[in-house]
């Protein structure tokens, strides 16, 4: 057992290091490339040591792209972890903040906050958090006809809550004749564009404690996968662990939604990919999803900036185009699993 299974700590370190390399490479790419080439030129001239860097390029690099990359890392990590935690807690491989309607609920809360004229922090963050908690409670309530959360009823409840949230959002938007209207719609599609360092710092302060909490509870999450009864008799206080994880996840999701809008399906891609690569141990998966999810979002955002001929597209478009087919594939596969079992 020693030879063929390295210690958990070793596995965590190896997987995290490999993904960190990926993250740093993705980050460098995202800093270098974008809708303007000046930065690339400036960057290379900086390395050659020839001449001074173009001040314009420097501004773009440090004040626009750098916070944007950091924001993408944070948001990608948060949403991937959100998917991972929901999948473990609800024992449903298709669970994800966006699909369950938690993101939509946060958006409704955030728009309420914006329309009421609250400041972005803490006002809008709080209304977004309230929205996400309310939708999560609603989805769990709707799908818990029996003690076991059924796979399909959970998804169905999520779809309905999502539809309701979209309706409320459209309703709220059509009530306002506001200059911010365009901004809201653009933000809804998932946007990492308008971020300064102070906003990134604030978001980091909200998210990083959640990441640490998830890592601390990663082994209880493993035990929870063995079923409630076994987990309890192996010493897990499932009521406390479940509650803490659910609240922390919706807090995290609401913080990202309030800052960057709706980015769908991110919570499916990384958890599933990494589970295939490194196995089901959450002690490895939590750090891996944080780092890998960050890298994934950085790359998606890079595509969103580079692909359009003019301007850029909301990054939510990219994540949905990657994630939605994966969702359909997983749904199909879990269906055939059910038939087989």
């Amino acid at each position: 057992m020693n030879a063929d299974s390295p210690s958990v700590v070793g596995r965590i370190a190896a997987v995290s290091a490999a993904l960190a390399v990926l993250l740093v490479s993705a980050g460098l790419l995202a800093l270098l490339f974008g809708s303007t080439d000046t930065v690339t030129d400036a960057f290379f001239s900086l390395f050659r040591g020839s001449g001074k860097a173009d001040p314009m390029a420097e501004t773009i690099l440090w004040q626009i792209r750098f916070p944007r990359v950091l924001l993408a890392v944070l948001v990608g990590a948060a949403l991937s972890l959100g998917g991972l935690v929901f999948q473990a807690l609800l024992r449903n491989p298709l669970a994800e903040p966006y699909i369950l309607g938690v993101s939509g609920g946060s958006a409704v809360g955030a728009i309420f906050g914006i329309l009421l004229g609250f400041s972005r922090f803490p006002g809008v963050s709080l209304t977004a958090f309230a929205g996400s908690m309310a939708t999560l409670a609603l989805v769990l309530l709707l799908s818990s006809g029996q003690s076991v959360l059924k796979k399909d009823s959970l998804l169905l409840a999520g779809v309905m809550v999502n539809a309701f949230c979209s309706a409320v959002i459209t309703f709220l938007i059509s009530l306002t004749q506001d200059a911010r209207l365009h901004n809201i719609i653009y933000w809804l599609m998932g946007d990492l564009g308008q971020s300064g360092m102070d906003q990134v710092g604030l978001l980091a302060a909200m998210l990083i404690p959640c990441f640490i909490l998830f890592f601390a509870l990663s082994h209880p999450m493993n035990l929870l996968l063995m079923g409630k009864e076994m987990a309890q008799t192996m010493g897990v206080n499932i009521r406390v662990v479940t509650l803490v994880l659910l609240v922390a996840t919706s807090f995290m999701v609401s913080a990202t939604v309030a800052n960057c809008g709706l980015l769908g399906f991110v919570g499916l891609v990384m958890p599933h990919l990494l589970r295939l690569l490194v196995g089901p141990d959450h002690r490895v998966l939590v750090p891996a999803c944080a780092i890998g999810g960050g890298a994934f979002m950085v790359l998606c955002d890079l595509l969103a900036r580079v692909l359009p001929r003019q301007g850029e597209m909301p990054v939510g478009v990219i994540t949905a185009m990657i994630g939605a087919p994966l969702f359909i594939y997983l749904l199909k596969r879990s269906g055939s699993d059910a038939n087989r079992g």
Binding site: N2, L217, H219, N222, Q232, V236, R275, P280
Partner: protein, 269 residues
């Protein structure tokens, strides 16, 4: 005699339905204690109350002399392990990782295992005969193998009391005997007290030191198999025609089901 489990006046409700009615009993240390009874008699509910998974409406459960509610989950898990009915198989952990999970109550919150823990896991896997597929995933195993993996996990937990809910249900004959033999060895070699819920009266008769026959949340009879498994008691409890004689192996009763065609003179052959 020293007891490890003491239950006093235990009542449990599911909504308006009373699953346990002021049940009182004690389990002696190192005993193979098997609970039998008709469907819905409260066997599993009793086991869950004992494991602290369900909270009783009234009464007291003492494990090793201490009230259940005085334990934290983790403390209790160091003394008592459970192999539930139909455990999950959702996420494909490997066998050795599952067995190692049994060490969790003895470890920190991240469950980082030391060499001593890995050694205990190896021993538990050898004991239950699952070592050959230590590297396989749970979803690649048969029902009997899987059940032994979960038992290995429970043994790795080093409990003084092991609870099992119908571990032989859905297993073929060879695997049934194998699981029961394992429990007997666990009791003899390590002095573990085994409390098992079973549907199989004959299997229970062959292995149990103490047999608890339940009906409608109450004790019908409690004692060694020869005292509990009599024709009068069984027919009254199960409400069906039965034949009770001595097993050809000797010393324990044997229960035979009697098809109704033997009872009705008009249709009799």
């Amino acid at each position: 005699m020293q007891t490890v489990v003491d239950i006093e006046g235990l009542s449990h409700f599911y909504g308006p339905f009373q699953a346990l009615r002021e049940l009182s009993l004690s389990v002696p240390k190192g005993c193979f204690f098997i609970v039998i009874g008709p469907n819905g008699s409260g066997k599993t509910t009793l086991l869950k109350n004992l494991a602290g998974i369900e909270t009783p409406a009234a009464g007291a459960v003492r494990v090793l002399g201490r009230l259940l509610e005085e334990y934290t989950r983790k403390e209790l898990a160091r003394h008592l392990a459970l192999v539930p009915q139909l455990p999950s198989e959702d996420f494909p952990f490997r066998v050795r990782d599952i067995v190692l999970m049994g060490r969790s109550p003895h470890l920190g919150v991240l469950g980082l295992d030391r060499e001593a823990d890995r050694k205990l896991a190896r021993q538990a896997m050898a004991f239950t005969g699952v070592e050959p597929f230590a590297g396989r995933r749970l979803d690649q195993l048969s029902g009997g193998e899987r059940q032994r993996v979960f038992i290995a996990r429970a043994i790795c937990q080093e409990p003084e009391i092991l609870l099992l809910d119908e571990p032989t249900a859905a297993l073929d004959l060879a695997h049934q005997v194998r699981i029961m033999d394992l429990m007997e060895r666990l009791k003899k070699d390590r002095g573990v007290t085994v409390v098992m819920v079973s549907h199989d009266v004959n299997l229970a008769a062959m292995y149990a030191d103490q047999l608890l026959l339940m009906r409608e949340g109450q004790t019908v009879s409690l004692g060694p198999p020869t005292e509990v498994l009599t024709y009068e008691i069984l027919e009254k409890t199960y409400g069906c025609p039965l034949l009770v004689d001595e097993s050809p192996l000797g010393g324990v009763p044997r229960v035979t089901l009697v098809p109704s065609r033997y009872m009705d003179p008009d249709k009799g052959g």
